[in-house]
Structure formats: C-alpha cells, structure tokens
C-alpha cells in the first residue's frame, strides 16, 4: 500500500515537535475529517532555519508532514511557498490515490504557517495571495 519511504517517515518522522518562539504557526485540517497538521516555522533573514510539526492523522498524513518539513528546512520563503503537494508525494515515492489529500494538507499547513509569519511581520509573500487556509483539502 505505502512505499518504504512513506513507512520510514511514518515510523521515524523528522522534525516532530513544537517551536516555542515560532515566527509562524499554521494549522489546517479538521478532527472531524481525521487529520490536523500544525507547522511551526523559525525564519531568519527569509530562510527557514527550523521547522517542526505535530500531526493527528493517518500514516500518510504523518509521513507527508515529515517529508514536507524536510523539504523546506533550510530553504528560503520563496522556495517554501512553491512547495507543491505533488512534490511532497513524489519525494515519498508516491501516495495511494485516496491519500493524495494528505500531501495537499502538508502543502497547505506550510502555506498557513507562512501566511501567519507574513501577517505577524506585515509583509506579503508572493504566491500566497489566493491561499485560503480554511479550504478543505478533501474537496480536491
């Protein structure tokens, strides 16, 4: 069902946890749907120097969170905002079709955290104009 990569990131997730003094925090999902992702970002000079996550959800939700955090760690905001759910899924060697929404959730959680950072710092981030953190990824 799941690739080895998915299972690895599920069993040994990278970057689990919280960042006390995070510069941006984003949470997406809904416990009613069975998945919530919360992403914490530490940003210095436009670079994501640290990222942590907490996720309530299935195996692929946890693996997607883990992979997504890995993919943006050390990257610039510009790069992070371009992270697509497809990239997350590909980095995991693919997700089953019914689980693609988990990768969407990961993409959105990062965008939500970036949006939070933008708001707190009163900046705009290119690529987040149309982003709505409350949109339900299950509808995708």
């Amino acid at each position: 069902m799941y690739s080895e990569k998915v299972m690895d990131h599920f069993m040994n997730p990278r970057n689990v946890g919280e960042i006390e003094d995070a510069d941006g925090v984003g949470q997406v999902g809904n416990p009613k749907c069975g998945d919530i992702m919360k992403i914490y970002l530490k940003i210095e000079d436009g670079i994501i120097v640290d990222v942590k996550f907490k996720t309530f959800g299935c195996g692929s939700a946890i693996a997607s969170s883990s992979m997504a955090t890995e993919l943006i760690k050390g990257k610039s905001i510009e790069e992070a905002v371009k992270l697509t759910n497809k990239a997350v899924a590909e980095a995991l060697d693919g997700l089953p079709p019914v689980k693609m929404h988990c990768s969407v959730l990961a993409e959105q959680a990062i965008k939500a955290a970036l949006l939070d950072y933008a708001k707190k710092n009163n900046v705009t981030i290119e690529g987040l104009e149309d982003f709505n953190p409350d949109e339900d990824p299950h509808e995708h």
Binding site: Y2, M7, F10, M11, P13, V16, E18, Q27, P31, K32, C33, G34, D35, I36, M37, K38, K54, T55, F56, G57, C58, G59, A61, I62, V98, K99, H138
Partner: protein, 392 residues
Amino acid sequence: MERYVYMDYAATTPVKKEVLEEMMPYFTEKYGNPSSIYRIGRESRAAIDEARERVAKIIEAKPKEIYFTSGGSESDNWAIKGVAFANRDKGNHIITSKIEHHAVLHACEYLEKHGFEVTYLDVDEYGIVDLEQLKNAITDKTILITIMFANNEIGTIQPIQEIGKIAREKGVYFHTDAVQAIGNVEIDVNKLNIDLLSMSAHKFYGPKGVGVLYIREGVKIHPYIHGGAQEKNRRAGTENVAGIVGLAKALELAYENLEEHNKKLVYLRDKLIKEVTNKIDYVRVNGHPEKRLPGNVNFSIEFVEGEALLLSLDMMGIAASSGSACTSGSLDPSHVLLAIGLPHEIAHGSLRFTLGDFNTEEDVDYVVESLVKIVERLREMSPLYENVKEGK
C-alpha cells in the same frame, strides 16, 4: 518480525487444518460435477447433501432449507432482493437498522431506487435497536425485517428472539445477517423465529468464497443467480464442492467447542479491555458491556487516528482493524460508530481487536504492551493531545 499476533478474526480466519483436510479430496480425486449421474458425480452430490444436513442440524433447520452461496454478501443480497421482488404484490416496505453491514445497507439502497421504501432503525449508545421503534415502523406494506444478529465492528448482539417474535406476530419475514454470530452464539432458527439467515464460512475457520442462506420452508423468494437446476433450482452454478464441505466441517468444529471457545475468548477479551483502559487514558470501549461477541473489543483512543494505530501495530506484528475513514478510503468514519453517537473525531481513533481460537494470553500481553508504546508515540505527535495536556 519475530512475533505475529493476529487479532482480526472478525475480518477473516485461517482455514483450520481439519477443515482443509476434508476439503482436499474434492479438488483432485473427487472432482465430479454434482449434477452428473456417474460415480464421481454422485460422490460430489452426496458430499453436498451431507454438508447440507450437517449445517441444518447446527441451526435446527431442515436440510432442504439450507442453500449454499458464494459468501455472506451474496446471501444478504439474495435474501433481501429475492424476498423484496417476490413479495412486491404484498408490499414495498423493508425495515433494517443503521448499523447493518454494507451488504445489507447497499442492497436496501438499491431497492430504494426500485420503488421500495426502507426504514433504517436507530440504535442506542450500545448499538441495540429500539424494539418500540421497530414495532411502530411496521405497516401493512412491510414485507421484510432485516436486522443483523451481531455487529461486526462493535460486537453488539441484538435481541433477535424479540425481533423474531414481533416479525412473526405481524406476519413479516425476518432475515438476520448472522455472519459474525455464527460460530460464536447458539442459534436455533425456530426458537428465534428466523425466516432467513446469512452465514459466511471464512468467518468461522472455513474457506473464503462460500456461504449459506437459510430459507425457511414456505418463504416466498426469487432465485438470485439464474441458470442450472442446482440448489433445487434456486441458486444456479456448479457447486463449490470443496468449499461446501469445508464450510460444514468448520461449522461443526465451531459448535463442538463452543463453550470452551467462548470461555477462553471472553477471558482474553476482558483482560484486554481491562489492561488497555487501565494503562491508557482517554480510551472508551464501544459496544454493549455484556451483550457482545465473546471475541470483540472495540476501543476509541482519543487524539490519535485509527490507521496510524494499525500501521504501527502492523510494524510490531499485530493485525487489527479500525473504523477510521482512512482505512476505507472514504471520508466518513464507520457508520456504526456514528450511529452509536460517537463524534467523528473520536470515531477516527477507533481500534478493533477480534480474538480467535489461536490467540493466547501472551498475545494479549504483547498487544497491551505494544499499544501503550504506540499510543504514547502518536499522541506525542498529536496537536490534539497537546491541547488536552495544556487544558485547552
């Protein structure tokens, strides 16, 4: 993987050695078509007739009331659609419950598209149907009541005798999906006023792909698979002789040891419930405290998601199941857990262990020990648990 603990006996069971042994000759030497008149054909016919008698005896039916099918789903579809279309002149109303297996629910939904009306009875927090609501639902158009004997997810056993009595008094046919109950509960179709009953061999240590529909003599029902004259012209298709022989043997074995089997399962079940609820907080046990299948345990473990639990258990060599939406590929968690009133977020964290003949006390210890670790790990990752700890 060192240890393998299978605790998903409600999903399916291995075929028992003695069962497979009885089946074997029918694949190779005794391969005759039961409809053929020569020796090896007659031997197959005799094997089926004997199987029919063996099955009938267990549920106190007549051999001619036993029809072999390809499994529980076919039996349910046949019973419901076959009775519906055969009795359309009498009425178009069917009563069932909200916690039936999909084979029943989807058959009913299909009938709704074909001019039938279906009442889906509520259940209480334990999963028991409301007998008053049942009585009130019956109209002079009601032709069938179909209520499962025992639920596959939460293990709740329905008041079948009372339902049968109500149905009989009102002159309405009563079908029960006994797929989960058979092999765990004594069933006498006469005492319980059952008119039709479904079973599936792979749930009681028989092979997959073979089942039974019991049809009380005199019940008006259409055939469902048309064709040859097999099964007294009611279910066409060359008989799965090996499967039928296996089904009968498995059923016999189940009822030979029923008391012992149940005593052991209840002991292991209660131990599992006790230890898990002692060692893990924010856990609830779903289903009825007493009126439940001997091997069924259904937990809701808050703040974690069911599939993540299953995957983690699988990594530790433990097989279990969940009513979480994520395991079914649908968006909603189990209709059964919702029907007993669980909120979605709690239903997502459901975890079912179903114990069976090959489980031991060590298995239970291992599962408890593993589960404690897994829940701890997953909750550490869970933003919901964090809120709770912080008192939010």
